[in-house]
């Protein structure tokens, strides 16, 4: 993902690379040089990961988090980040708020309301930490399983026979269209760029013009040769738009020897 940050293994030997030097341990006083702070935070896959690190680093039992201490540490980081005006993912702030809330509830005298014993304010956090921790381990487990093209390679032997032609996979146009629909849906949902809704025929014409020029030995065709009478007015418009678009994209140029003489179209050769 991010090459500046190295994977933090479960034992946490190496936190990050800062200026080429591996960042082994967080200093006890938690002072982190400003430049390293961002790298430090990027090392973590979110607030739960950071909390787990803080807890583990001190050999704290997860079921008995000294909320005050961990909260203070956590909030210190967040404040440092904010002081440095670094962009901070919202999740980190949400977690800071949650920790602050737990802390305040811990400080209140505990009330026992009849049968329903009030739940320990930490339990929800602990549940989430545990849950995350097990999947974090599972992910490491999965990464260790030998996999194709990293640890194993498929093996083949050639089959030589005259009459055998390995049939090529068949596909249906529908499958192509569905695939493209998916692409369009994804783009609609997640991204800012748009496929230009250019009329298809212009794009097709662009391809056709280019290949025609490439096939032509002279690589040089008269402007009028691209227009055919049969296609009528719309055909002319499409061809004209395609030629303009190709010029705009720097794929061909239109040249003229002298005013009012024949226009020539030629591809821009590299």
């Amino acid at each position: 993902m991010d090459n500046a940050t190295e994977k933090l293994s479960s034992t946490g030997q190496r936190l990050a690379l800062v200026g080429g030097k591996p960042f082994q341990e967080l200093p006890e006083d938690l002072y982190i040089p400003p430049g390293a702070l961002e790298v430090f935070l990027e090392t973590f896959e979110g607030p739960l990961d950071l909390l787990l690190y803080l807890i583990k680093h001190q050999n704290i039992n997860i079921l008995d988090i000294p909320v005050l201490k961990v909260t203070e540490q956590y909030i210190q980081y967040i404040e440092m980040m904010q002081n440095l005006r670094m962009e901070l993912a919202a999740e980190y702030l949400v977690m800071a708020a949650m920790l602050a809330e737990i802390k305040s509830r811990m400080l209140l005298p505990r009330q026992t309301i009849e049968e329903v014993e009030e739940e320990d304010p930490r339990s929800e956090l602990i549940r989430r930490l545990q849950e995350y921790e097990r999947f974090k381990q599972a992910a490491e487990g999965i990464d260790k399983i030998p996999r194709l093209y990293r640890d194993n390679y498929k093996v083949t032997a050639e089959l030589v026979a005259d009459k055998i032609t390995k049939p090529l996979p068949e596909i249906e146009l529908d499958a192509v269209l569905i695939a493209f629909q998916d692409v369009l849906k994804r783009m609609e949902k997640f991204s800012h760029h748009h496929i230009q809704r250019e009329p298809l025929s212009v794009r097709e014409r662009m391809s056709r013009i280019l290949s025609r020029l490439n096939d032509d030995e002279e690589k040089f065709l008269a402007f009028h040769q691209f227009f055919t009478l049969e296609e009528g007015r719309s055909g002319v418009v499409v061809t004209f738009l395609a030629l303009l678009e190709l010029c705009k994209e720097g794929l061909l140029e239109i040249v003229q020897g002298e005013p009012l003489s024949e226009l020539w179209v030629k591809p821009i050769v590299e």
Binding site: S10, I62, Y132, A138, A139, I145, R150, K154, V155, T156
Partner: protein, 201 residues
């Protein structure tokens, strides 16, 4: 005759370059000469033994049997290609792990567990690799897609079933009030399920 069946099976596994099922191997033979399942399996077992000392091995994955280079030789073999094996980031691996163990899972459920949003890119890469696919939509507002792992995922990791994945650590009971003194350590020692292995419904 015996060895002929085995030879044909062996040659086919090499030529196919991908997994073949027992069924597919049986179909190589015309109806009258077709060996039964047991016979094919015996041949496959014999082949596995024949290659014991070799740098390649015959393994069984979700979609059948295939020959592959032993892990031990991966470093050398990888030099044949310029493209280096891809390293996946933690975000991708964690997302994959959640889908693998919790499937079918929605993106929201994955985010809930990880505590951060899942980047679209990660999901897309997983779909693209065909390690996961969308098997339906959850009947909740917004109808989020439900992701599950595929056969390709199992094949890629040389697994026959999901049950072969390393067991997921058991969740400890949270009973803090009574038991602030339980010594449960995180990390390496966390996997200590008593008897019955992975819970999770």
């Amino acid at each position: 005759m015996n060895t002929e069946i085995s030879n044909i099976i062996e040659a086919s596994l090499f030529a196919a370059g991908e997994s073949l099922t027992v069924n597919e191997l049986q179909n190589l033979f015309s109806v009258e000469d077709r060996p039964d399942k047991r016979r094919v399996k015996e041949c496959l077992e014999q082949l596995q033994q024949d290659y014991q000392e070799k740098p390649i091995e015959l393994i069984e994955t979700a979609s059948g049997f295939r020959f592959q280079v032993r892990t031990k030789y991966a470093d050398w073999v990888s030099r044949l290609w310029e493209e280096k094996p891809v390293k996946y980031g933690r975000a991708l691996l964690e997302t994959l792990a959640i889908i693998a163990y919790q499937q079918p899972a929605t993106r929201g459920e994955i985010e809930e567990i990880r505590g951060v949003s899942v980047s679209t890119n990660v999901i897309r890469t997983l779909l693209e690799r065909e390690w996961v696919n969308v098997i339906g939509h959850k009947e909740v507002p917004g109808k989020p897609a439900l992701y599950a792992t595929t056969k390709e995922f199992l094949d890629y990791f040389s697994l026959q079933t999901l049950a072969e994945l390393p067991p997921l650590a058991t969740l400890q009971n949270i009973d803090i009030l009574k038991a602030t003194d339980i010594q449960l350590k995180l990390g390496e020692e966390a996997v200590e399920p008593e008897g019955a292995t992975n819970e999770e419904e």
